[in-house]
Assembly symmetry: C2
Homo-oligomer: 195 residues x 2
DNA sequence: GCCATTCTGTACCATTTGGTACAGAATTAT
DNA sequence: ATAATTCTGTACCAAATGGTACAGAATGGC
């Protein structure tokens, strides 16, 4: 039989995701990708079909990873602590580079809303999934009397998500850590989730 | 002497802005622009230098227009009514098409943050100018005792702006009017500006 | 009418885009 | 070692990119 070795597909995908995350879909050229992934053109097409398919994979990876993070937290923490945990790990504890890159799904939605329906839809779905995770947690907490019912769980989740989206824009526009910290605190305060 | 006629530069600029607004910088090609503006290639370069320069002009136009809107409102309305007025005119009263296009400056920041510093900076500055307009209004209202001082004017303005940015993402992701309306109401409610 | 001037439309350009073809190197089972 | 197979690197492709050159039409003062 023949050789079975292969470049590390996962690592290459990860490298591609980083680049797409930072520069977006259109502005990332194939040569850029090949250099970052450390593979040759033919290997690229053999393993990932097209640039567009690769982007989809990256988007899925990013989305699933983010969702997993929220789900993990939802197991360990009370619902009222979820937003703070999410904001802090992704905006204060993360590296400045990552913070400045914002959220790949948000970036994608804004870049491709009028350009590529399918890619846009994937990003939107992943965002919705995260919103739903928050909503589930809030509803449960309300049923157990751990959270006031001034607003429904869904409304609250949408609100947390809207602030989250806003924070992603802020962090991409100007990544002053102290400013982000201040916004996070004000947000949690007005949400009535200030610890 | 020679002819003085010229295509309507302002109208052409407007048309370009609409296209850039919807599709972003990179995804808008020169032929697309020429068609939308209704002018020929040579006229384009004679009047607007390059695609990039044109984009800058469009960005300035969009930003100035938005800022003017806030400033106008700030003259007529109490500071506590400003956010509602802004959200409603741009997200509920505007045409679905415009709503779906989001905010050109936000779109630009997310598309070009890692790609074109200068364009990104222009967009960021315009956004800051709007935030400052809100901050001024809030500070004044606080001095006059019309607004509580639980948070500083700047903090409040940043918060309104963060929610605004989030709403632009939401509206570009999924322009259900009723959902936007709901988010706006929840936002104003938790901000203590629910009228 | 005529000339000067400034417009417009088209043909053209080099570069870059994403994607394909194919030769040759590398690896594994026999 | 050999054969089978799958990798990699390079050369190549058509299409699209932003930008330029230039011929010719349209308009103004005389």
């Amino acid at each position: 039989m023949a050789r079975s070795v292969e470049f590390d597909r996962t690592k290459a995908l990860e490298a591609a995701m980083k680049l797409f995350w930072a520069r977006g879909y259109t502005a990332t050229s194939l040569p850029d990708l090949l250099a970052a992934m450390g593979i040759a053109r033919s290997s690229f097409y053999a393993s990932f079909s097209t640039k567009r398919k690769l982007f989809m994979e990256c988007l899925e990876l990013f989305g699933d990873r983010t969702l997993a993070m929220v789900d993990e937290d939802a197991k360990k923490l009370p619902a009222t602590a979820l937003p703070r945990a999410f904001f802090e790990t992704t905006l204060l504890d993360a590296s400045p580079r990552k913070v400045m890159q914002g959220c790949m799904m948000v970036n994608t939605v804004l870049e491709l809303a009028d350009v590529d329906q399918e890619l846009n839809q994937i990003a939107a779905q992943k965002l919705d999934a995260i919103e739903n995770a928050f909503a589930r947690a809030f509803k449960l907490a309300q049923q157990q009397g751990e959270l006031n019912t001034d607003h429904t769980g869904i409304e609250l989740a949408r609100m947390v998500m809207t602030i989250n989206l806003g924070l992603r824009v802020q962090s991409r526009k100007n990544h002053s850590r102290t400013e982000l910290k201040s916004i996070i605190n004000t947000s949690l305060s007005i949400l009535g989730l200030a610890a």
